[in-house]
């Protein structure tokens, strides 16, 4: 396989697991500047897909296409297709609010709401009416905090303000908050870039655990992190998807010269 096409990768992925999300010929423009060029990528169910590449290569922009967060930015136009379970998420019939409940997101900087820890996690279930009673809500909050590995640290101070937590705890709280809505996919935009190494290790561990229940797409600047947490890696460069494949293969035997250059640190 000298030239890797998206189709080839799609076929390859089908041997491993079902494609949960897919981008087809995705182009994105910020006003007149094109930020993404014909991106074709499959996200495999219950796997961690890492998006790597130098700053400004479009990986975060691509991530934000997956739950239509770019809708909130003025002057963005998108063509091409992004599907979730084979349905086009940019179709008019799609309710973007419900879509974002199915595709959760964790941001670069921990952004807990200035509310209590409990209210932060309960935010999603409450607005989506996922619970009918206080007991159910308690249950969801507890399990979400548990899944995010935070319960032990905060169970005695659920009513304390979330902004009082440490950076790493805040980020895990944001993950718990995303998990509480029971999304199918979780998008993470450099979730560890504002964290110290210990907090980073905890979040990485958590990502690995979450993989058994959720499909995860993570943007990262750290190639070590991509290698540690992901099963598949996609390399972006100048708005184009250069190469995508199994993480081992990308890091040990990249097919494209640019990928090789980036992972060996020659540019980026």
């Amino acid at each position: 396989m000298a030239v890797v096409t998206a189709d080839a990768m799609t076929n390859a992925s089908q041997t491993r697991g079902k494609s949960k999300m897919a981008a087809r010929d995705l182009n994105l423009f910020y006003s007149d500047n094109q930020a993404l060029y014909d991106v074709n990528l499959d996200v495999v169910e219950r796997e961690v897909t890492a998006l790597i590449g130098p700053s400004g290569c479009g990986k975060s922009t691509f991530l934000r296409c997956l739950n239509r967060m770019n809708d909130t930015i003025d002057g963005v136009t998108i063509n091409g297709k992004v599907t979730l379970d084979d349905r086009d998420i940019y179709d008019k019939s799609i309710d973007v609010v419900q879509l974002r409940a199915r595709i959760g997101m964790v941001f670069q900087k921990p952004n807990p709401f200035p509310k209590s820890i409990f209210d932060n996690v309960a935010y999603g279930p409450r607005i989506h009416g996922l619970v009918n009673s206080r007991d159910e809500l308690d249950e969801i909050v507890m399990t979400s905090l548990e899944k995010a590995g935070l319960l032990k640290e905060v169970k005695d101070r659920l009513s304390a303000p979330a902004t009082g937590l440490s950076g790493g705890q805040q980020q895990r709280l944001c993950i718990a908050r995303a998990v509480a809505v029971s999304p199918e996919v979780i998008l993470m935009d450099e979730p560890c870039s504002a964290l110290d190494p210990i907090a980073t290790a905890k979040v990485e561990e958590l990502i690995d655990e979450l993989r058994s229940n959720y499909t995860i797409v993570i943007v990262t600047h750290s190639m070590q992190q991509a290698a540690r947490v992901s099963q598949r890696t996609a390399f972006f460069h100048l708005g184009k998807l250069v190469e995508v494949g199994e993480t081992d293969q990308i890091f040990t035997n990249p097919r494209d010269e640019r990928t090789k250059g980036y992972i060996t640190g020659r540019f980026g």
Partner: protein, 459 residues
């Protein structure tokens, strides 16, 4: 020699010093500015400041002290029978200054006084000449000293910055001291008032009718100085104003900040802020000539009796005046809520209104409360609209259809026209002003505290 000429002279000398200082620095540099510690312009500024500032300071001190020194000299020469009686003395001093100004042909006064008047004229001339001489020498001395201190390694730049810093300290001192001065003048007049009327009667009295006899032979009521009806009126109108301003201002802020497209915002926001630029007197006649008659007529249709000067009319118009205040402050506060929080909420599948209601608004709430408190203190202190539209009758009522009066309206009516300055009636204006000042000050301090506390959270 008028003050203008003196100031011009000082400015001219400073300008000359600037040129001298700069020239000397250039001469010292030998053509290469890098040989100097500072730029030539700094040396010029240094000499100019040293020439001008001491002279200016001296000028002001001179003018401040001249009057009392000259007067003391004149008094010391007057015979004892005049100086011993304060009334006579003040009359004599008046006559003396009239004579000195050559304006007293018709006056019939003692020869000592005439003599003193002529002496005053001479003293003034001497003082003026002395002032010019002293000023000139101080300015030239400053120039000479600073000029001699210019060397290549003299830190003119740092020196200039230090002098400028003192100037800025002086400017802020002026602002602070004048506030203090206003407060103290209010305070002393108010204390004067409280020596005539007991503070308890003033603070808790339910009746306000300040008409007292001006002369002893006049028949007039005793006068009642209970401020409660005035504050009740103020609060009623403020309450009505806030009923209008808070929802309208807040919702327009939310629309402008969160929903409006940037093109719409670009012209709608300034348009809204034009409201803040309308002079309050214009609002006043809008209230008195348009809104109040309209309310009276529509009240009549409904069978309600609305007085033609009603709290409702004044409150409504005041509310409109305050809308831009509330909206632009709360817009500022809400736009300070970090984008990350909005993203977090949208990322969880919240709609725009859920995000605003559950995340942005609570996060901005302290700031919004602060904005509203500032608006309240603005409404309490507002004068023109209520003078024109609220009326003068000090009714203690909660009915917005009646005429009420406010603290500010009463202060205006108490001080407008010919008044005897030490009657309780006139002095009560200061007491009212003091209470008003304390209330708005308290509100402002509280509001700023709230706003500040909120700001710290995201810094």
């Amino acid at each position: 020699m008028s003050l203008t000429f003196l100031l011009l002279g000082i400015a001219l000398l400073s300008a000359l010093s600037f040129v001298f200082g700069r020239q000397r620095a250039i001469a010292l540099s030998g053509g290469r500015y890098s040989n100097l510690h500072s730029l030539p312009v700094h040396y010029g500024t240094y000499t100019a400041l040293w020439c001008g500032l001491p002279a200016l300071a001296l000028l002001f001190v001179w003018y401040a002290l001249q009057g009392s020194v000259v007067q003391a000299l004149i008094i010391s020469d007057l015979p004892a029978d005049i100086t011993s009686d304060p009334g006579k003395l003040s009359l004599a001093l008046n006559a003396i200054s009239l004579i000195a100004a050559d304006n007293a042909a018709h006056l019939d006064v003692a020869p000592e006084v005439v003599e003193a008047g002529q002496r005053l004229a001479t003293l003034h001339t001497i003082s003026n000449i002395a002032l010019i001489v002293v000023l000139l020498s101080v300015a030239l001395l400053g120039l000479a000293l600073s000029y001699r201190r210019i060397f290549a390694d003299m830190r003119a730049r740092n020196n200039v910055e230090r002098i400028v810093r003192y100037l800025m300290i002086g400017c802020s001192a002026i602002a602070i001291l004048s506030t203090l001065g206003i407060v103290f003048s209010l305070l002393f007049e108010a204390l004067h008032f409280f020596s005539k009327i007991s503070p308890v009667d003033f603070l808790f009295g339910l009746e306000w009718s300040p008409q007292t006899a001006i002369r002893a032979d006049q028949v007039a009521s005793e006068g009642a100085f209970g401020m409660i009806p005035l504050f009740a009126g103020t609060l009623l109108i403020t309450f009505i104003a806030m009923l209008v301003a808070v929802p309208v201002g807040l919702f327009s802020a939310i629309y402008m900040g969160e929903y409006a497209s940037s093109t719409f915002r670009a012209w709608a926001k300034p348009a809204l802020e034009i409201l803040a630029g309308v002079p309050t007197v214009v609002y006043g006649f809008f209230a008195a000539l348009t809104v109040a008659p309209f309310l009276r007529d529509s009240g009549a249709v409904l069978g309600l009796s609305v007085s033609s000067e009603s709290a409702l009319a004044a409150g409504l118009v005041m509310g409109i005046m305050i809308i831009p205040f509330v909206s632009s402050l709360s817009d500022d506060v809400m736009s300070q809520v970090p984008q990350a929080l909005r993203d977090g909420s949208y990322g969880l599948g919240a709609t725009k209104s859920e995000t605003i209601r559950l995340v942005i608004f609570p996060a901005a709430l302290p700031g919004i409360v602060g904005a509203i408190l500032l608006a309240v203190s603005r409404a309490i202190g507002e004068t023109m609209i209520v003078v024109m539209a609220a009326g003068l009758a000090a009714n203690l009522t909660a009915n917005p259809l009646n005429a009420v009066t406010t603290v500010t309206v009463q202060i205006v009516t108490l001080l407008v026209g010919d008044q005897e300055f030490d009657s309780a009636k006139t002095l009560s204006a200061f007491a009212l002003g003091l209470v008003l000042f304390l209330v708005t000050l308290g509100l402002n301090v509280f509001a700023l505290k709230v706003v500040q506390k909120y700001r710290e959270k995201y810094d």
